[in-house]
Structures are given as structure tokens and as C-alpha cells.
Symmetry: C2
Subunit: 340 residues, 2 copies
Amino acid sequence: MSATMKDIANETGLGLATISSYFNGGNVRPGNREKIEAAIEKLHYEINETARGLKTDRTRTIGVVIPELQNMFAAKVICHMEDILLKHGYAMIVCDCRTDRKREREAVEFLKKRRVDALFNIPVDNEGGHLKSFLKTGRPVVLIDREIKGIACDTVCTDNFRAIADAVRLMAANGHRRLGMITGPQEISAARERLRGFRSACEELGIAEADCVTACGDDTMEGGARAAEEILAGEKHPTGMIISNYSMTVGAIIRLNEMGISIPEDLSVIGFDNINFAKAMNPVLTIVDQPETLIAEAAAELLLKRIEAAGDEAEGARHVVIPARMVEGRSVRKIRGEEK
Amino acid sequence: MSATMKDIANETGLGLATISSYFNGGNVRPGNREKIEAAIEKLHYEINETARGLKTDRTRTIGVVIPELQNMFAAKVICHMEDILLKHGYAMIVCDCRTDRKREREAVEFLKKRRVDALFNIPVDNEGGHLKSFLKTGRPVVLIDREIKGIACDTVCTDNFRAIADAVRLMAANGHRRLGMITGPQEISAARERLRGFRSACEELGIAEADCVTACGDDTMEGGARAAEEILAGEKHPTGMIISNYSMTVGAIIRLNEMGISIPEDLSVIGFDNINFAKAMNPVLTIVDQPETLIAEAAAELLLKRIEAAGDEAEGARHVVIPARMVEGRSVRKIRGEEK
DNA sequence: TTGATAAACCGAAACGTTTCGGTTTCTGAC
DNA sequence: GTCAGAAACCGAAACGTTTCGGTTTATCAA
């Protein structure tokens, strides 16, 4: 079928080892180098990464397991990681486990069989059971967006605590003293941190606990819609609402539109992620914008370093935290003193 | 390191061929079957797909090359394909070429080196130069969303012509007789078809050619914004605007907001793709919704069939066309007789 | 029990690389 | 021209599977 190194060896009269050395950056005399290149050209030779992978036990492939490819945050992070990894000659196999623990575990097993060199994971199983057997192989794992206690591996997360605390402060600076927050499921560390940020900032600003209502939106559009409704149905009518992920933001806004609630006249809103979506809103939505590019870079760097260092004494897990930034639109109204 | 078939053979006292046969659905006596399963359990054996791939020259891996992962349409299609392929034991390596021909060509070469069994491609290079060498390997290619003349391979496309023609008809049914359309680059077959649909429907409905203005938005957000402005700057003030892909829709809407143009009072709009985005608009945007799920299913089916049929006499290329559907929101105004 | 037929099983060779230890060729100082 | 040391080169073995042809074992009718 296609040409092999042996064919190149025959064509050039050189030995197999020399050809291999050529492809792996070894020293080859200039004349032979030319001969090899001519033979490659002539025979349309292309290195067989499968064979190479078998021999070296390195597939130059990274496994990625995420809860949802449709998830903007995950998609953006992956997109940038792919860019960086490709430059280093690594391929990426992405598995979307649809926020399902069983599928997540299966995905990891699938990737293990394929001998991926390392794993990126935005974990669904907050106990990390799916990672145990992979970790035993000694191959590195980098967790993104969420930590798991008891699983010793590198992590890269947004500074979730501060992200939401900043949102609260922005609301307060505009005179809001009754706030609602739509949270994610509390098994997830990122969602916990965000809620913690909310409570802590409220306390710091002297906002009474009774004036802070929260509702869990399950990180889904439907959940976000339901939670928005729930918050507004309560007797404490918040003047400002903070929504702590992208899907829930979309869901909540759809529902607010349906309910005929105007932003920001009837309710001020701070959403999460996806600047393009925010800008397309009328009025432009104020959001917390996560630094996907920086996260991807940090994660890729961590991962590549671990792969290179394979075999060395593994050093302790690193935890990188990256700040988010507020992008102000016009969805937060300034409340005057007299009208609280 | 990890256990091999040889270890299983030693453990069970069986031969290598029997173990292999076990893993490939061959006949093994029940007693031996149990022994093998016990050994697998004990040694934590996992089949090595790399070795298998080398031997069989089938990696059970599909290469995917797309212009942009951020592209909603591409992301959705990929998401469903991944689902189907995983069920069949296939992995997917996705390469995002950032709408760049050179990167697209490199991506195909990269995947070829990795011996992927087949290729999915939403092509950027409309001459298909990047595919030639891959096609020579005899491995199948399925083109999605765009055809390339002169490249004989299966394709799966939306019925782009009718999708936009329907949009025009909807506008006309609401009394609009002066229309603007934001098109994609005309090198791309899908964009050509959409423009053709626009012109054809306008003609059919007796809308004067002078009342149909078009502007090319390059399939990007920025381009969509620019094109929207261009169309409204002309002396013919269209009452309705049709935008022929998702990014351009977002871009155009952002710009319209910035310009203070209200939808649909000042201008009726029909956008493209992403039903969630459309529903989050206020008023809800009327859009053309592409059937990503059906496209993914059709493409995966075509591909798997080709892979199974490898070696058989290749039958002629198939071209599947799938209808889009209109999802009506409130962004198209009904114009009364007197006020044109 | 026997014999014929089918079902299981077996080991060796092969897939296309990398790597190891050993051999040849080059280089340049004398 | 010689020699030592370095640089280049070499073939064979190995990685973990599948597959081929051939052998053993099971099955069952007579």
C-alpha cells in the first residue's frame, strides 16, 4: 500500500536506523539527507504515527472529556487548546459526556484504551471515580473549571469567588440592596465558589441576609428560566439578578422576555459568559466574562510540561486560578436614593 | 507496564490466537471464556488500540476538519456525529482550521499521517486541493454543508436554495416588497445557493430587481455588521432584511442595536441558525433553522457505510439534501396596504 | 467404540516503527 | 600518511496486536 521506511532505506541504500534518525532530528550527512528527501518525495512517504505510537508508547494524542460541547465555555477553551496542542504535534480526541456520570466514566475508559498521553477533564462526577484507573497509568490529568478533593492533579479555574463578588459590588454601587442569584448545582466546586462569593460580598456590603434570595438553576437553560421565575415569585422583590453561568443566563432572559419584564427598568441583570451574545442583547447585557483563552493556555502549558517530565519524580499538583472580568453593558439600572 | 494478550495467554494457559479470537467475537469454549474474563479482571487488561491499529491498518478514528469550532452550526453537527460514532467505537479528531486554506491543508495532512479511517470536512478551499492526496488513499471523505465540483465524494447539505426562498416568501406574505439580504462569500457553494434562492424567489414574487439589495458579509460577525450598515445606507430602504448565516446575524443585530434601529418597527429581520439565541432576543427573532441533527445522522451513516464497504467496488458519490425549517418569532412586521 | 466432520485452538510471522550495541567512515592534529 | 576520537551508520530485536495454515479436541451418527 503506502511506502514505509524500509522502502526509503532500499531506495536510498541507507539503513533503517538512519532513516529513523532523520525523522527524529538525529544527525545525518547532508548528502544522505538529500537522498532521503528525494526518496520521500518520490515514494510519497508519510510517517506512520500508529506504528510509532506502538513502539514509543506515546500516541501524541490528548483525551478531552467535557460535560457538553454545546457549552460555550467548554467549546472556547477546547478551541484554544486545540490550537496550542496542534502546534506541538498533538491531536485531541474530544468526548462529550452529556453531563452524565456513566458516559463520563465510559469516555475515560475509551480514551485509556486508545492510550492517550494525557487527559483534560471538566469533571461531572464530583468524586472523581472516573479518573482513578486512568491516574494509575501515571499519565497526567488536568482538571479544568472544577476541582475535586482527594484527586491529586493539576487544576485551572476561574476565580469564581471574586467574579460573583464583583458582580454584587457592581449592583451595590448602583444602589441595589435586594439581590437575587441563580446558582448552579452545589456539588460542583465552581458553583459553590460562586455562591460563596455572592454571600460573602453581600455580607461585606451589609446587605441583609433576608434580602439575598438564591435559586438553583442546574446550569441548564430550562433551570435558569425556572429559577428566574422562582426568584421573582417570592415576596422579596429583588431589584437586581445575578446569573452564574451562560446557559442559565440565556434561559432566564428568555423567560423574563416572556413574562414581559423589561431589563433594566423592571429588573437589573448581570449574566455570565459569551460576550457576543451579551452585545447582541438590547439593551447590551452586563456580564462576567471568563478568560477562556488564558485558561486554555495555562492548561495546555501544565499538560505539556507534565508529559515532557514523564518519568521524572512527579512534583506536587499545581492549582492555577485566573481572574474573570466584568464587561459592563446597560442592563444594570442606577437606583436613586429615594426609590428603594 | 500494563498487561498484554501474552500475559492473558500465560495466565489462562491458552494460546495467543484464542485470546485474540475472544476479543474479536470469535468462538471460544464457555470454560475458556470464563478463564479469560477472570484473567482480564485480575491483570486489569485493556486492549491496546494502537497495536491493533498498526496490524489492521484501521485506527477506528475519524478525522474532522472544519472552518471554526466556534461556528454554532459546525459545533452542533460535530456534537451529534461524535455521539453516533462513539457508539460504533470510533473516535473523532477534530481540527479547526480557522477558515484558513493553508491550515486546512495541514490539518488533512496531519490526519493522514495518523491514518484516520475517513474524513469529515466542511471545506474552506473551494477547489478541494487539500483533499486530493487523502482521496488517493482510497479512504472515504464526506463533505458537509458545501459541495466542491470535481471532487467525487459524498455530500450532505441543507436545502439552502429553498431555505432562503422560504424566508423571502414569508417577508412577501407580510407585505414586504423591498428586501435586503446579507450573503456569504460567493466562492462557497452554500452561500451561492442561498443567494440564488433569494433572487429566484424575488423574481417569482414579482419583486423588482432594483428593490432587492444584497451585501456580502463574509460569514463573519464584523462582516455582518458592515453589510447591515451598507444595506441601510443605500437609497432603497428595504423594509425587510434576510441574513444568511449565524455569525452575520449576531453581527448585524449588534450593529442595528447600536444604530438605534428597532426590530421590527423600523426593520423586519429574518436571521439564521441557533434557536436559543433567537428566543433570547426581544422581540423573538424569526430564523431559518438548519437541521444539524439530521445532517449529522446522514453524514455518519454515509461514512460508516463507506468504511464497512472498504475494498468493495466503490459506488458513485451520494448527495443528500435536507430541508431547513422556518421558526417564526416576532421580528417580521405585517405591513398594511397603504404604507409601503 | 469408531470415524468423519466441525469446532477450538495453537504458534509463528507480520504490521512499521524505534532503539540498542556494534561497526564503519570522517575529521583533523601530528 | 597515521591515528585517535567523534560522527554516522548499520541490522536485529522489540512493541502488542491479527492472521494464516495446521493441529488438536469435541460432537455425534453409525
